[in-house]
Structures are given as structure tokens and as C-alpha cells.
């Protein structure tokens, strides 16, 4: 069933204008000096790429190590509170990894460099593995499990299940790989003491200083773009594998395993992982919010000033810190919420149309590829591309207004809803649309009445994903004028000043705002939200 052409044209125009054109404009600068590509063969560059690849693989390993058991336990066992742990596991993804890093450095000050980087990024992104494993584990047919168990006992059952769950686990791990290789703040921060751990993303950022050749900077970005695109392409292949593919009409949901007394041990394991990834960083922020700034003790006139003293933690001060955060940053919070809300809302119909075309047309792969491209580009390159496209006398007001921020967020994160909705629409039989067409409904009516209600959980998941990433965005935002007023911008400025109380409170408020859509859906919707698969 074809996607409505005029509407698809508008959606493609949005993708091209805000996602692809900025990158295309930047790529023309490389054409001026193709010799810049020569630097990619330098041993130093290859070394950096190699260790970045190893970092990514290390994070993949840790994400699998934590995410597979976590996802399986909450989906398939009778561990107490499985639903709650399944909801909480999304929290690390909403926290900037640097904040996770700051917490863990306090706990393990002597673990630094590559091991700590892998630990932090693994804790930040293992939810991607856990969530997809949980989803896949719930879609293994009970009859298959019983048959495997009857033939070969517990180990045969697990082998059979793993073969169906593995694509989901590796899908999540591949996404974690993408985030890990593009992060340079965490490796730099955690290796501030001890052996320095440099990554390729450092090189990409540093080449954008003024006065350096643009062609060199763009050439430097190419390997990272290639690695990211390669990983995303693998992810696309994996997302339809194993039990993530559509279930048959006779599907029987698997029963939860009764662990007996072992369930308490499993609960301990879950809580340990959640403590490392959620309770510890959030708890540290809460603790810091309640620590007042040091004060000067009073001394008699003529005496030298006394040492500064730090008053103890109090709940009252925690409250004050939250009030200060809201007082100072109310406008920034409001701006962030509005911008992220608008970006997520506009992304939804655009992604819906693109995803329908991706799922139903022969050229669908190119639409998917086009939507992935902006996500694969380094943020700074993408941000500069927006300036090049939009800073003209005719578009000046748009360039300096909120519109460009929304467009930039839309262009960058359209990949997530397009992937999620493509998958959901692929699961939907085209016969439903064909039947509707036979009774004379228009293409738009079919999209609105047949397809949209059927993929509602994926629409909700897509909206939430764009909202979360839009709220967290900083790197590309530093180049777009109106993005200056976002709460992330304010947060990263304030981190510099040791006002840990109000900064911590602001981080917690931001985290809460990011979590609100997911919380509302969990509380009031009857169907599970579907994210990415």
C-alpha cells in the first residue's frame, strides 16, 4: 500500500532540509581539498580509531553482561517487583553519562581510564539491551520452550531461547556502541587522574577550532561517521531477528519461571544493577542538593579570618536547593520542555509517513538510511551545517528563533521514530490497508484510521524517545542561537562553579521532567510503550 504522496513529499522535505542538507553542504567543503583524506592514514589517527573501537566493544560487552540477565529476569521470572524494575531501568538513559561519571568517581576514585569509561558508559546504556531482551523474552512461544525443555532440560531450553533473544540483545548493544564511540566527555573526565585515555571523538572536536582547515575537520569526522553508520546498519538488520519478528496468530505467551527461594537472589542481582546505575547517581545528586555551601566562621575584630566550615546535610537545605534551581532556571526549563515537546510532536507525523514508506516501498532502505545519517554525524558538524543552511538574510528570523532549534532536534533524532515505526508497520499486515482501500478510503484515511491506531504504542514510544534526547541535547545546540536558553546549557554552565547544591537539584528536576512522559504512559495507558523495535 503506497504512502500518501503529497504528505510523504512534505515529510521527505523536512528530513532533507533539517537532516540531510546541512550535512550535504558541509561535505562540499571536503570536495575543495580531497588531499585532506590523506591524514586518515596517519598512525596516530589509526591508533585512536583502534582504541575507540575497543572502547565501543568493551561497552557492548558490559551492556550484554548486565542487560541480558536483567531483561530476562524481569520478563521471564517471578522475581518480586519485576514491573517496577522494568520501568526504573530506563532512568540511566535519561541521565547524562557525565553525571553518572561524577558519581562513580566518588565511589571508586582509584579506578580510572578505560576501565572506568567502559563502566560508566556500560551503566548508562545497558538499559537498551535489558529492554530489548525483556521484549524478546516475552515473545518466545510457550510451546517452543516446553518442547526444548522436554528434550534437553534446562540447558536446551536456554540455548533455544537465547537463539531467539540474541538478536534483540545485540540490537540494543549495537545502539550502545554508537553512543559510546561518539562520547568524548566521559573518557576525558574519568581519566583526569592516572593514565590518560584519549578517544577519536576528541580528535573530531579539536579539529573544529577556528583557523584550521574545514576540509581537514570534515575528513577527520568521516571514520566516526562510517563506524556509526556501520553499527546502525547492523542494528537495523538485527531489529527484525529472532523473537523480535512478528508473532503468529497462534502465539502463546511464555509462563514466568517460578524461581522458588532463588528469586530473592535474583532480586538482589537486579537491585545491585539498579543501585549502580540508578540509585547511586540519583542518590548522590539528592545528597549534594542538601549540602550547604561553606561559610566563614565569625571571629573577633582584629583576629585573622577563621577557616571556612561546611554545615551538615539537611532536608531543609535540599528543599531550598530545589527552590533555588527552579527560581533561577524556570525559564530554561520551560524553554527546554517547549522545544523538546514541539520537536517530538512534529517528529511524529513526519516519522510516521517516512516509516510507512520505508516499510511498504521498495526504496524503503534509502529512507531509513537518510534518517540515520544525521544521527551518525558528529554533533558539531551537524550544528555548523545548520548555520550554513539557515543563516541568510531571508531566513534570519527563523535562524535566530525557536524554529531552527526544533528543526535541528527533529533532523538529528528523526532516526529513532523512523526506526521504531518502520518496525511496527512492518509487523502490521498490509491486508488491513488493502481491505480499507477496497471500500474506498483515501490513503490519508487509511493512515489515520488503520495504521496509526494499530501502532499507537510505537507512536508513544517514538514521541518519548525524541522528547528524551531533545531534552538532553547539548553538543549541537551550542551552535544554534536560540538553543542557548535550554536547561542543559544552563546545567553545564553551572557545573563549573561548585554550587553543587543547586546544580544537583537542577539535574534532578531535569531528570524528573525527562521521565514524565514515560511515567504518564505507564500510569494511564493500558498498552506497553514500544521503543525502537
Amino acid at each position: 500500500m503506497p504512502t500518501p504522496r503529497p504528505a510523504l513529499g512534505v515529510a521527505l522535505a523536512v528530513l532533507v532540509l533539517f537532516g540531510i542538507l546541512p550535512l550535504a553542504m558541509m561535505s562540499t567543503r571536503l570536495g575543495v581539498d580531497p588531499s585532506a583524506l590523506g591524514l586518515l592514514g596517519e598512525p596516530r589517527i589509526l591508533d585512536l580509531l583502534g582504541r575507540t573501537l575497543l572502547l565501543g566493544l568493551g561497552v557492548v560487552g558490559l551492556c550484554l553482561l548486565l542487560g541480558v540477565p536483567f531483561g530476562y529476569w524481569i520478563a521471564r521470572t517471578n522475581v518480586p517487583g519485576a514491573g517496577l524494575w522494568g520501568a526504573l531501568v530506563w532512568v540511566p538513559l535519561c541521565l547524562p553519562p557525565l553525571i553518572m561519571g561524577m558519581s562513580w568517581i566518588e565511589v571508586w576514585p582509584h579506578v580510572r581510564g578505560a576501565p572506568m569509561t567502559i563502566w560508566i558508559l556500560g551503566l548508562s546504556y545497558f538499559p537498551l539491551v535489558a529492554a530489548f531482551v525483556a521484549k524478546a523474552a516475552r515473545r518466545v512461544d510457550r510451546r517452543q520452550i516446553d518442547a526444548a525443555g522436554t528434550v534437553g532440560g534446562w540447558s536446551a531450553q536456554w540455548r533455544m531461547e537465547w537463539s531467539l533473544i540474541a538478536p534483540a540483545a545485540f540490537f540494543g548493544a549495537t545502539l550502545a556502541f554508537v553512543f559510546a564511540i561518539n562520547d568524548f566527555a566521559v573518557p576525558d573526565y574519568v581519566s583526569s587522574v592516572g593514565s590518560k585515555f584519549n578517544v577519536y571523538a576528541d580528535e573530531v572536536f579539536a579539529t573544529w577550532q577556528a583557523g584550521q582547515k574545514d576540509s581537514r575537520a570534515i575528513a577527520t569526522a568521516l571514520p566516526l561517521i562510517a563506524m556509526t553508520l556501520g553499527a546502525l546498519w547492523i542494528a537495523l538488520k538485527l531489529r527484525r531477528g529472532g523473537s523480535l519478528q512478528s508473532v503468529g496468530s497462534g502465539f502463546q505467551a511464555p509462563a514466568r519461571m517460578d524461581l522458588g527461594p532463588w528469586r530473592w537472589l535474583v532480586l538482589g542481582g537486579l537491585l545491585l544493577i539498579l543501585t549502580a546505575s540508578v540509585f547511586l547517581p540519583v542518590g548522590r545528586l539528592f545528597y549534594e542538593a542538601g549540602l550547604p555551601v561553606p561559610i566563614q566562621a565569625q571571629t573577633a575584630v582584629g583576629q585573622p579570618p577563621a577557616a571556612m566550615i561546611r554545615p551538615p546535610w539537611t532536608l531543609g537545605h535540599t528543599w531550598e536547593a530545589f527552590q533555588t534551581a527552579l527560581e533561577r532556571c524556570r525559564d530554561n526549563l520551560r524553554a527546554s520542555i517547549l522545544l523538546a515537546f514541539a520537536a517530538a510532536t512534529v517528529a511524529l507525523p513526519v516519522a510516521f509517513l517516512l516509516a510507512h514508506a520505508a516499510a511498504r516501498s521498495r526504496r524503503g532502505k534509502w529512507i531509513l538510511f537518510g534518517s540515520l545519517l544525521p544521527l551518525a554525524a558528529p554533533a558539531i558538524l551537524f550544528g555548523i551545517g545548520q548555520i550554513v543552511v539557515w543563516n541568510h538574510p531571508l531566513t534570519q528570523s527563523f535562524y535566530t528563533g525557536d524554529g531552527l532549534v526544533i528543526g535541528m532536534l527533529l533532523g538529528r533524532y528523526l532516526a529513532f521514530p523512523v526506526m521504531a515505526l518502520t518496525s511496527a508497520i512492518e509487523n502490521l499486515s498490509p491486508r488491513l490497508e488493502e481491505a480499507a482501500a477496497l471500500v474506498g478510503t483515501s490513503p490519508m484515511q487509511r493512515m489515520g484510521r488503520i495504521v496509526a491506531p494499530a501502532v499507537l504504542p510505537a507512536l508513544a514510544g517514538s514521541w518519548t524517545l525524541v522528547f528524551v534526547f531533545a531534552m538532553r541535547e547539548l553538543d549541537a545546540a551550542i551552535l544554534v542561537p536560540a538553543a542557548n536558553k535550554t536547561v542543559m546549557f544552563r546545567l553545564y554552565n553551572a557545573v563549573h562553579f561548585y554550587r553543587q547544591d543547586y546544580v544537583a537539584a537542577l539535574a534532578l528536576v531535569t531528570l524528573f521532567v525527562i521521565l514524565i512522559p514515560g511515567l504518564l504512559w505507564t500510569l494511564f495507558a493500558r498498552r506497553k510503550m514500544e521503543v525502537l523495535t
Binding site: R51, S192, S195, P349
Partner: protein, 355 residues
């Protein structure tokens, strides 16, 4: 079926409503009287800009950089926006990138009458930029880990095997540490600067490293303040913030003594704030007014008494006792420094991102 229809209708209505509302949210911005790009930390500069607005009645749109991006974000924007400029004034908290912008032809000259008493070394001979309120590159020392702080008085102390693994410098790829590294080439000559920075770069991967390489000057000050490390290079504003927390730290202004052969002391590097007007600034008259305001004696005094404790470059501007200026300055040409910064960045990348 009836239920599905109702859901569909609600969905459509909601989508239409949201789509209709979106353009309202994307409303284009109103034109301000002045657009200022500010890399001085927002916590310090925002109240000052609000004061300027109150005094002049002009509506200012201030846009900031983050600590993490140093000046890369704003400088890059000025370069990229050159064909259709929108920035009227660039208030940079360091100098090398400003001089580089002048060198690349992105600035317009303005000889502010207010700046007549600013020493010549802080003014562009062609008047495309002017320096004021400076920070010094000092060594922050934890007095609990270094009970006799007189042991540390030179930049070379970082390389003393005695302090291996206990000293720190921010990675010199951005910000004032990059400026500092570039200044060393001018002050020491290529060979000795390479010797110094090369020793740090080569030793950064050892365990313990010869010198720890931190993510920023703020992080350096924090590590020393918390007693994780004994001492490190940072800026006076980061030191002032660390000191305000009550930590046992002191500032050492390094290289104040003559060399062993009686050579003049190397001195401590001063990095002034700079203010400039990009070429084609849309609100030129307002921009000049702002530049005059920022370069006033009153503003230097305000910055000296602020939490960032900037050092006035005019010798007779009042300052608190904690803001020192009685030290030997590193003698370098800021013009030469800025002109070399792009090449030095590449060299620092090659040295510090070596594996």
C-alpha cells in the same frame, strides 16, 4: 469497531491540534538592539549585561558558550556567520581566539575612547580588539599535601620526579590551557616548549603519569581542592572559586625568580578578557556603546571584586587584596600568540592525542 473509530478521531484531532500549535511555538525571534556573544561564564556575565540593559534601555540578546565547549562554539559561529553577520560584540574571556579572528579578517576596528588608558600590550595596534580584566595562569597548591609550598615556584616543578603523579594540567586542546601552551612556544622558544609539553604528553599514558592531564581547568582546581592531587596549572578565577569553598589551597605565581644564569624571570602568563566587534555587525552604534561600557574602569573594578577575581590591566584600578598584580608577567606578544594558535592546536593534537 466503534471504539477504534473514536480513538482514531481523537488521534486525528490531537495530531491536527498539535500540528496547528507547532508554528506558534516556532515563532520567529524578535530583533534585539544588540547581539552579544559572551564566553565569560554566564554566572558572572549575565547580571552585568542585565545592568547594561537597565542603564541604556537597549534590549540585548546575549548568547553564551559552555565550559565544556570553551570558546569553540562562539568563535566557530562568528566564522560561519561571516557571510550574514548577526553578532554585534564578542566578549571573549581569553585572547588567542580573538586575535585569531582578527588575523582571519573577521573583526572590524574600533578605537574606543574609554580604552585610552589601557596599556598598549593589551590593545591591538589596529584596534580590532582590546584586552581588559585578566586572569593569570597560576599553580593551585594544596597545602596539606605540600606542607612547604615554597618548594613549588616554577612551571618545571611539574616535571620533577618527586611530584610524579601528583601534579596536573588541563589537556591543552582548547581554552586557556591551549593559549598557555602556545605562549610557551613564544616565551621559551620551540625547543624548550617542545621539551616541556612533550614530556607531559609522552608521560600522560604512564601509571602514574608524569603529569595528570585533566579535562578542564575547573577540574584541575577541583582535584587539588579535594586533595586528590597536590598541585596543578589553573586560572585565577578557578582558584578563587576553589578557595571560596574553604579548601586548604594557595595560589603560586610561578617563575618569578631569575634563571640560574641570571636570565630575567619567565613570569606568569596573563590572559585578558577581550572585546571586539565582528565585521558587518548589524547594530554598530549599539555595539560601540557596549564596548565602551565593558572597557570602562568601573567594569574592570567590578570584575576584580566579583567571584571570578579578574586582574585589572590598568594599574590604578582599585582591586581587593586577594587580587594580586605584583608579579612578573610573562613577556609575549599577544598578536603573535593569536596568529599561531591554529598551528599550535594542530601540534597539541598530535602531541596529546597521540594514542
Amino acid at each position: 469497531m466503534h471504539k477504534i473509530n473514536r480513538t482514531t478521531r481523537s488521534l486525528r484531532r490531537l495530531t491536527l491540534w498539535l500540528l496547528a500549535a507547532s508554528p506558534l511555538l516556532t515563532a520567529c525571534s524578535k530583533d534585539p538592539d544588540l547581539v552579544v556573544y559572551v564566553s565569560l561564564d554566564m554566572e558572572f556575565s549575565a547580571p552585568l549585561i542585565a545592568e547594561f540593559e537597565a542603564e541604556t534601555g537597549l534590549k540585548v540578546r546575549a548568547e553564551y558558550d559552555t565550559e565544556a565547549s570553551k570558546t569553540v562554539g562562539l568563535v566557530r559561529r562568528i566564522v560561519e556567520e561571516a557571510k550574514n553577520p548577526r553578532c554585534d560584540v564578542f566578549w571573549n574571556n581569553e585572547i588567542a581566539q580573538t586575535v585569531n579572528l582578527a588575523h582571519l579578517g573577521h573583526l572590524t576596528p574600533y578605537d574606543s575612547p574609554v580604552a585610552a588608558d589601557i596599556p598598549a600590550e593589551f590593545r591591538d595596534p589596529d584596534r580590532r580588539w582590546t584586552g581588559f580584566g585578566a586572569r593569570a595562569r597560576i599553580l593551585i597548591v594544596n597545602t596539606e599535601l605540600v606542607p612547604d609550598p615554597s618548594e613549588i615556584d616554577s612551571m618545571w616543578d611539574l616535571l620533577d620526579p618527586k611530584w610524579r603523579g601528583q601534579a596536573c594540567i588541563a589537556r591543552p586542546l582548547t581554552g586557556t590551557t591551549l593559549t598557555h601552551a602556545a605562549a610557551l612556544y613564544l616565551a621559551l622558544g620551540n625547543e624548550r616548549a617542545e621539551e616541556y609539553l612533550g614530556a607531559i604528553a609522552k608521560g600522560q599514558h604512564l601509571e602514574p603519569p608524569v603529569v595528570n592531564v585533566a579535562s578542564s581547568n575547573g577540574q584541575t582546581a577541583r582535584l587539588v581542592r579535594e586533595g586528590v592531587l597536590a598541585f596543578g596549572w589553573t586560572d585565577t578565577d578557578d582558584f578563587a572559586v576553589a578557595k571560596a569553598t574553604g579548601a586548604p589551597v594557595i595560589a603560586v605565581y610561578p617563575d618569578q625568580k631569575p634563571g640560574p644564569g641570571g636570565e630575567p624571570p619567565l613570569g606568569t602568563l596573563l590572559i585578558p578578557n577581550t572585546v571586539c566587534i565582528p565585521k558587518g555587525a548589524p547594530h554598530l552604534e549599539s555595539a560601540k556603546r557596549f564596548v565602551d561600557w565593558v572597557l570602562s574602569r568601573k567594569m574592570e573594578e567590578r570584575l576584580a571584586f566579583s567571584k571570578s577575581a579578574q586582574i585589572p590591566v590598568r594599574p590604578d584600578v582599585p582591586r581587593p587584596d586577594s587580587v594580586r598584580s605584583d608579579f612578573v608577567h610573562m613577556q609575549i606578544s599577544y598578536v603573535a600568540l593569536g596568529q599561531q594558535i591554529a598551528n599550535r592546536t594542530q601540534r597539541m593534537q598530535a602531541m596529546f592525542l597521540d594514542q
